[in-house]
């Protein structure tokens, strides 16, 4: 009657032992964490005596997976950024204009003179002096189109050319915009990742969210503003020819030119040509350094094509100024003294050492293709996190002890069985969390406490059922057996429904709420497992040994 096959018994105990082993590292959190860090450091940077010593703090053959602590427990910064994908359209159009001009110039005889018109940033408008040549103009510009490089946009081309009277309009097609948006977000994601890696913080989370958003979580960083400084600047470096200099921000720039403020000198504005000679994309290296006066500066080096263009330009324009522009501000506008052939240069300005180091990092990692707007930011100080952990620990222990006492008082020996299962249950939750690399958040701790309360439910259902069967006059073995089989459907229904809500929470929630859903969901699985397998096995083993004539539940 009360039989459990040997293989099942072995399997049940194996699961419990595995859970305990997986959960164990969390009891020595700091030590295991240091050891894990040291192991990674040895792999990356080689062995040193200190690292070996740190690594030896935790035996190699033991599981070393830890539960990740969420930002609300560890402290750190959380940012949700939206990539301003439209920025790219303007840059694309600006870069496309010279091509359009060249193509139309060749057809001068038919289309006449051409004149770029003011237009929204995401299109090019060209007026032609012979409207009757529009058909030819359209044909020529359409010939410049390229196929869209994406799966969904197969067969489409990247630009859309139309005419309004004597004005020819070029803009990006819908398919190209979609493809471009996707590329922009991917690229931004990659660059954000590179920038954060350069600073070398541990375990950052950098994920794409939805179509155009990036979620960034960095534990241990001082504040979200600090994080924003690293990733928030586009670091778009360009070298533009200078047309003029003045103090009027609204100066007439002329078509193809733009007015930019100076970074250091308030009230000074430069008019520069919009199309840059070289850009940050042509850089291969940037390092913080000092200029000849000992002030912090950044030295950089171009790749071969960048170096050639930069060399050609400086050779042709000796004596005229060019502007070093960073994110639409003129860092400096030196006069070209000589032909710069080597492809390397130096950016000077009123930098602090920290700023020059940051700028070098940004230039090295590459420019963000578009600006980021921050929709949500959270900073949690490490002290608050520690307070929360401490409070959570105490509350969990008190809750635990109270439930243990209550169960023992209510069900005697069977209550003790349930208590052992309950302790195993919490260990299993931690083991499972470590195994899947789940994150523990403050609501997650609440989830565990709630599971402690609810995990006894399955046992209670069984025990109450056994009581009823005993009352109905069944023998002990029969009562236990019936109790389990009859309570099973209630246990399953009750837990499946709660599990459904945990899944929905996980799917819809984010951050801390998701942490709660994870512990709740895992807690339901482990509590069902411990109630219908572990306690039962304990009761059966006890029963086999004692063979009591009567039992009291």
């Amino acid at each position: 009657m009360l039989q459990i096959d040997l293989w099942k018994r072995v399997l049940i105990w194996l699961v419990c032992v595995a859970g305990l082993l997986l959960a164990l590292p969390n009891a020595f959190y700091t030590r295991v964490e240091q050891s894990n860090d040291a192991v990674v450091a040895i792999e990356m940077k080689g062995e040193t005596p200190e690292r070996l010593e740190a690594a030896a703090q935790w035996p190699e053959w033991m599981p070393a997976g830890l539960v990740n602590l969420g930002l609300d427990l560890r402290g750190g910064a959380h940012l949700l950024a939206e990539v301003q994908v439209e920025d790219v359209y303007a840059a694309r159009m600006a870069a496309f204009w010279p091509e359009v001009r060249k193509a139309l110039m060749k057809e001068r005889a038919i289309v006449g003179g051409i004149n770029q018109q003011r237009s929204p940033a995401d299109q090019i408008r060209v007026k032609i002096s012979k409207p009757e040549g529009m058909a030819r103009a359209l044909e020529v510009v359409r010939g410049l189109a390229n196929p869209v490089t994406s799966l969904t946009g197969a067969g489409a081309t990247d630009i859309e050319v139309s005419a309004e009277g004597d004005v020819l309009i070029v803009r990006l097609t819908e398919a190209e915009r979609l493809a471009s948006d996707d590329r922009t977000v991917r690229q931004s994601l990659e660059i954000v990742r590179r920038r954060i890696d350069e600073v070398g913080t541990r375990e950052p989370t950098i994920q794409r969210q939805g179509a155009d958003r990036i979620l960034i979580q960095v534990p241990g960083i001082g504040s979200a503003s600090e994080l924003k400084e690293i990733i928030g600047t586009t670091a778009q470096l360009t070298f533009n020819p200078v047309v003029g200099r003045g103090s009027d921000p609204d100066a007439r720039a002329g078509v193809g030119n733009k007015v930019l403020p100076s970074l250091d000198e308030a009230g000074t504005y430069y008019t520069v040509e919009a199309a840059p000679v070289v850009t940050g994309e042509d850089l291969v290296d940037a390092q913080p350094s000092f200029d000849q006066n000992g002030r912090p500066a950044v030295t950089f080096r171009f790749d071969t094509s960048g170096a050639r263009r930069f060399g050609d330009y400086t050779a042709e324009n000796i004596g005229s100024p060019f502007a070093i522009v960073l994110d639409n501000e003129v860092v400096s506008a030196p006069v070209i003294q000589a032909h710069i052939a080597g492809g390397s240069g130096i950016i000077t300005g009123n930098f602090s050492i920290e700023e020059s180091t940051n700028l070098a990092v940004l230039l090295r990692a590459g420019a963000l293709p578009a600006g980021l707007e921050f929709l949500e930011e959270r900073t949690i100080g490490p002290e608050l996190g520690q307070d929360s952990i401490d409070a959570g620990k105490i509350a969990t222990i008190v809750a635990f002890v109270a439930v243990l006492v209550f169960m023992t008082l209510s069900y005697g020996l069977f209550g003790i069985f349930a208590n052992i299962a309950l302790m195993l249950n919490v260990a299993l939750i931690f083991g499972a969390l470590s195994l899947i690399g789940g994150t523990l958040t403050l609501p997650g701790i609440a989830g565990i406490v709630l599971t402690v309360g609810m995990a006894v439910d399955a046992n209670v259902l069984v025990f109450e059922r056994i009581r009823e069967e005993l009352k109905a006059g069944r023998g002990p073995a029969r009562a236990i057996d019936e109790g389990y089989s009859k309570a099973l459907s209630a246990i399953l229904d009750a837990n499946v429904t709660t599990f459904i809500t945990a899944v929905i929470l996980f799917a819809m929630g984010s951050g801390p709420v998701r942490g709660f859903a994870i512990t709740l969901g895992l807690g339901i699985m482990t509590s069902v497992f411990t109630a219908i397998f572990v306690t039962r096995l304990m009761i059966v083993m006890w029963f086999e040994r004692r063979r009591p004539k009567t039992i009291e539940v």
């Binding site: 609300d72 979200a224 930011e377 900073t379 608050l384 409070a391 809750a399 402690v452 439910d457 459904i500």
Partner: protein, 322 residues
């Protein structure tokens, strides 16, 4: 000796005063809903955008001085509340500052926070910002939407599951109890003006899960007893089933409450609102699975035997009242 929350055998008649119970529930739902409509919820920044800053300092907090120090910055609507908690140390003074969403841009700028810090340092030199959270209006709008979808989805999924496992009358009874619990929880949050943020949505969904847990256990027993006692009336079967499961219902509720109360008292102020919602949910959830779900089931009636037509529900109520 064993601790018994409920006597070994009980035979309470839960439906003797069913009108009163349903009446109380309906009244409380109306009060809760009216409070929600009139007063509205005290939404946290998750749902209406803005910034909250948690400050800590060793000096006692003078809310007026804080306010004066901040007023030159022109931040619009600012609320400052001091936080008290038994887990704080002697000289640990915590305040929560909430600032409305700013006109320009989505989240608050780093310079703004530095300015604020400098301004507050004039009244409380050792002030520290232990956490700063800022949510732009764009995201908060979406969060509201997601939260509503999540709750509706959860209730819908449950409805379908119970319908599949039981009969449709059971599903309706269970969902009525869930709606009751959700409305009462939102009602008490609006009545007491406790901050309503994303975590509370998680609590709401847990309440949905918990209340259901209770309801399902009772219904499971009802289903079993309906098969066993073919002659008994539905009211008798329901009463019997609730009485039989009463001991378990109380045990589970009490253990869960023990755990939650220790978290409420000792878990710190950050999650107190969340835990409060759950405690409240466990209480109303236990109540509703007995007095709402089962009563509705009685009201709707259950088809006992597929070969016979359903007993008219009016008769059953007449029987109880007689």
């Amino acid at each position: 000796m064993r601790l018994r929350l409920v006597p070994e055998t009980t035979s309470f008649d839960f439906f003797k005063r069913w009108k009163i119970w349903l009446g109380i529930s309906a009244l409380m739902m109306v009060v809760g809903f009216a409070s929600f409509l009139l007063q509205g919820l005290n939404f946290g920044i998750d749902f209406r955008g803005g910034t909250t800053i948690r400050t800590e300092s060793t000096q006692a907090i003078d809310v007026g001085a804080y306010r004066d120090a901040m007023s030159p910055l022109g931040l619009g609507d600012v609320s400052i509340t001091e936080v008290f908690d038994p887990t704080f140390e002697e000289d640990q003074h915590v305040a929560m500052i909430r600032i409305q969403a700013q006109e320009d841009g989505e989240s608050i700028s780093g310079e703004m926070i530095e300015e604020l810090n400098a301004a507050l340092a004039t009244v409380a030199p050792e002030i520290k910002f232990v956490s700063v959270e800022s949510v732009g209006p764009k995201v908060s709008g979406e969060l509201v939407q997601t939260a509503v979808i999540a709750v509706v989805l959860a209730i819908g999924a449950v409805l379908v599951y119970i319908w599949l496992r039981f009969e449709w009358q059971f599903a309706l009874g269970a969902v009525a109890a869930l709606v009751h619990d959700v409305v009462l929880t939102i009602g008490i949050f609006s009545e007491l003006q406790i901050k309503f943020d994303l975590a509370i949505i998680a609590a709401l969904l847990t309440i949905v899960g918990y209340s259901l847990n209770d309801t399902v256990v009772v219904f499971d027993r009802v289903r079993e007893n309906l098969r066993r006692y073919k002659k008994k009336s539905l009211a008798e079967v329901l009463n019997l089933s609730i009485n039989e499961t009463l001991s378990r219902t109380m045990m589970t509720s009490v253990t869960t409450l023990i755990a939650l109360i220790s978290l409420y008292v000792l878990g710190g102020d950050v999650i107190r609102g969340f835990v409060f919602a759950m405690i409240w949910g466990v209480i109303v959830g236990t109540y509703s699975s007995v007095f709402v779900a089962s009563t509705i089931l009685l009201w709707l009636g259950v088809k006992r035997d597929w070969s016979k037509p359903t007993t008219p529900t009016g008769n059953q109520f007449a029987n109880i009242d007689a």
